[in-house]
Symmetry: D2
């Protein structure tokens, strides 16, 4: 069997470990052959791929990024796009199946292509850990670890100056990175998309920390929204930045907190360092296992399925059922964390 692999979407620590796990499992257990599509679906649509031999994956488990490159190309668009064109390309090159490593967009595309007859197995990639079908996704542990190390560093500076510090971490729709790094780093407020709060509530937390003689540390997920949007929007001056990119919420919150509490406040946006570089040991093991099990799913003809983690086991679930169900931070987990700071 000849299997094509692709990595799609934003960078995530463990992508290379998935590739290595798949190739070693396929070559050693099934005598499979592998090719890698370059730059995600772009390589599929353009028929751009390269062979991956066993020795090509040497040492990859600890290497950040993806040797295949990644992009946000949509496989239904462009000249070579759509199921018929892709199937033709696969047939012409003797490629029997595809392992697609990517986020919700990639998995949805994989399902649609599978519905049209293509042989695809998915490996979910979401650094935000926002997919309900898996307990944890690879890359998340590394992101939490990096965010926690940064928070550890930042808090000594906050304490030295008696300042309030607002740290923005990743998490567009869900607050898992903020929740875990905030708990690990001893944050005094954790703000996540699932739990809109008013600026008054946030300032109340900040002031109670100050009153205990400490420097308030606020961890906020990029997707957090203030509950009272009126209040937020009244700060027209700040909105004038109108930034179409990372960094908005912490940058808006810090001056609002300073204005209302009188506590000097600073913001820091951790940004891309959360999604690059060597994966943690946890993520290396998880990603390697997901890659291996994806190959098993290929040999079980489990088209349209994807591999996930449940407890300590790797399972296979239908992409159709899995995608679209957001892994929100449950109320109970937020309440639990809130006791530590509220």
């Amino acid at each position: 069997m000849k299997i094509g692999i692709l990595t799609s979407g934003g960078d995530c620590p463990g992508l290379n470990a998935v590739i290595r796990g798949a190739v070693l499992k396929g070559v050693i257990s099934h005598d499979a052959e592998f090719v890698g599509f370059r730059w995600g679906w772009k390589g599929v649509v353009e028929g751009d791929f390269m062979p991956i031999e066993r020795h090509d994956v040497r040492g990859l488990s600890k290497q950040g990024g993806t040797i295949l490159g990644s992009s946000r190309t949509n496989p239904f668009e462009g000249e070579g796009g759509g199921p018929e064109n892709i199937q033709r390309m696969l047939d012409e090159n003797g490629i029997d199946a595809i392992i697609a490593i990517g986020g919700e967009g990639t998995l949805t595309a994989a399902r649609r292509l599978t519905d049209a007859g293509l042989k695809i197995v998915g490996v979910p990639k979401t650094i935000d850990n926002d997919l309900a079908a898996t307990d944890y996704s690879f890359g998340f542990d590394t992101a939490v670890e990096i965010a926690t190390e940064a928070i550890d560093r930042l808090r000594t500076t906050a304490e030295s100056h008696g300042r309030c510090l607002v740290v923005e971490v990743m998490g567009r729709h869900v607050g898992w990175i903020a929740l875990h790094s905030g708990m690990a780093g001893g944050a005094h407020a954790i703000l996540i998309p699932e739990q809109p709060k008013t600026i008054e509530q946030i300032c109340e937390w900040v002031e109670s920390v100050r009153d205990r003689g400490r420097a308030p540390l606020v961890v906020v997920a990029e997707g957090f929204h203030l509950e009272d949007m009126e209040g937020a929007h009244s700060h027209k001056g700040l909105d004038a930045f109108n930034r179409p990119r990372l960094g908005g919420i912490a940058e808006r919150l810090a001056p609002m907190i300073e204005e209302r509490t009188g506590i000097e406040s600073r913001d820091t946006v951790l940004g891309h360092i959360q999604r690059g570089g060597a994966p943690s040991a946890y993520d290396r093991v998880l990603a390697t296992r997901l890659g291996m099990h994806a190959v098993d799913a290929v040999y079980e003809n489990a088209w349209g399925s994807m591999v996930t983690l449940r407890g300590t086991d790797i399972k296979t679930v239908s992409i159709a059922e899995a995608v679209g169900s957001l892994n929100r931070v449950p109320q109970a987990r937020y309440d639990e964390a809130k006791i530590l700071f509220g």
Copy 2:
């Protein structure tokens, strides 16, 4: 309610985070008071304890070790030992319940004391991850991370010299640290207590790595035994060391491998660095949650129970049922890892 906490047995990253989680949860949610027994059960037997206030646990989640001290004292021994003496001490000091953080010995003692009427809740502590009642125990992730970082470092040296390197990690009865750090670090052989192997099998793996032009890296758990003990014992000269402590197996294996394969071989014992220092973010979150839920168990009068991790949830289980069931590496997990190196 006045709750006494103790930490018992070997060091483990996350002990302080458990204490912090318990104290914050107890003080904030239940208005509880806390005291800490010094040096594990020794403090209980001798009535030696100190108050723990909220501000005493400040910043503790990232601090290695235990502020309470630890020892291996048996609570059934000595002048103040046994259920009656302990209950009297608790009554005299108005202590209502105990949260005991410790390994199998501590948990077994806690169960026996609970059978005799004492009010105790357990938090399992095992860096080896050898307790079947919990998916993972705190400290394990940190140990794996440290072992993996060490393996990453050691492998460049092995490659530079074309040597075989035998790295000994912790794991007396089970091979989880070896399995995970070996998978994460790309080991060419993983040797664990659950899977005795002959020296011939090990050398076969080592030679096949050498034949592929690489430097063989063997990760061995301290509790691994050669299958063919005759062969092992014939190396009398080495046994003459007769070391009653860490370090035996790698030190024995390296010269055996060198002698049989002709490949220059070295051993390294990672030792205590695996169980000290700041916990990983994963372990801080897990330990904090275990501490918080232990207090809930106290307020639910769940005497004789302990807190555990199942999937992403913290659960309560009976110590009586939990203890004694060793969390062995299943055959399927070993086979999975073996594909990567065998």
Copy 3:
């Protein structure tokens, strides 16, 4: 002798190690007493200080921040400010001398106060390493290490997406952090205040990297200026942000590079993580030694002097001579680095 210590200005890894080194040296070798002024010169002006005993500095060498707090208060301003008031406060409290740990502002103030008769010794603190009187200043090595780790992480992401990445590091007047972290991280362009470049030159470097099939990585010091300011200012739309704080240059460069080269470009500002948290071993040793030698300078009545590193030795120099001479990156060092990327 009773010595007062203060830390002033921005946070810097090693402040606590200086304090610890001074206190241990003073207490053990000279039987000195110590007090710590709170929040820098503010504590001096307000007579706000606390005793520092030997046990107070326990474990401080690895702890980030400063246990004394810091601020940017000017000792010549306010009710208790100026040499007479400060001398009176010192006399009233029996404080014989001051060790002032701070940047150029603090050292200049210390010199002026010394000219007026106060007994002060300085310890230079500059994370940017911008003081000519010392080979390296404490905190610099840690900042370089953190920036390098971040660059290591960021480059895998850049490679995975085939993007240009512009990383902004600290360095207001001099480019040492950019030079060292850029060399260590394998940057393809290093932009520093000492070496203004045109956007055309930068884009030429970026394109030559792209033409070799790689993802361009640009490391820029916050104080870098484009040579052709006309060109820079013509991007009026970007200037509309009008941000009076960290982050300007990378944020401006990335879209300029993308517009001119067609290479997708992103920026990341490392910010405060470079100046917080545990110091590197190098900085712990350097800071400890500086603290110890500052006490020696006190006992040598070397008022108006400060301690510095020359080769492997700690020396004492006159603040008057030392301050004002900026430690610029020499042309030869920039040329050396440029060979690696130009």
Copy 4:
């Protein structure tokens, strides 16, 4: 010009960075060609080498080990050994000069070969930092950093158990790693080859720490010797181990301390992790610069010289003068450190 590079002796973080620095400097500034001899002098003696192109050194600055391999082969021995044979091999292959990266043995051999007319430039490699001709050697900073991190971890365990911990670090003839990591990690005793001490003195330090309520932490260089060898040798039982390898001194000291002080004592040998893996940013910069300047020395026909660090500058010195002068820890530096623990 065609330049051959070799790396010889034990592993050391930064070897690859030297190679990269040399190749980039040579290719870009001088249009040089490079070959790499495999396995140190072995490759020279056997005429075993490979071309090194610019793209071969990509990403090497942060990679541990050496892509060329290393060994302890003596270039004066064997069939192809000695100056005539080597010169013939160089001539036959059009190799004009050699850059030899290695320790004292390699540098001495390089000097002797240079005396016989060969064109060789040296780059000193000593993780122990034992060469007087250079302020610091690459790899040393990384070793100190790793040892310090380990000490940080180990001390929490020692404190948790109220134990004395004896940590053995590298340093055969000089104690620099012990001195710096001991100062950085807050050791209570630092034992180095330059300063023999009696077991009584050591126990006095240990007991004074215990009397202050702390867990004694002893950092010992592998080359340390007890002053009163009579006393040491009377522990015949321990000497029976008669171990011809790393690990001796800590293993002997711990039981001696325990026996005399009654304080439970453990030893840990850090071993190979100190010399493998990714170099620190400091070492990457230093190693890169040394590699670049070695090429300059080649183009200056500075045969028989080697590159060194003086202050912040890279200098060239004669190997003949440099080798043989051991960089011992001066009395003043030991006295300085002793104040912190004695």
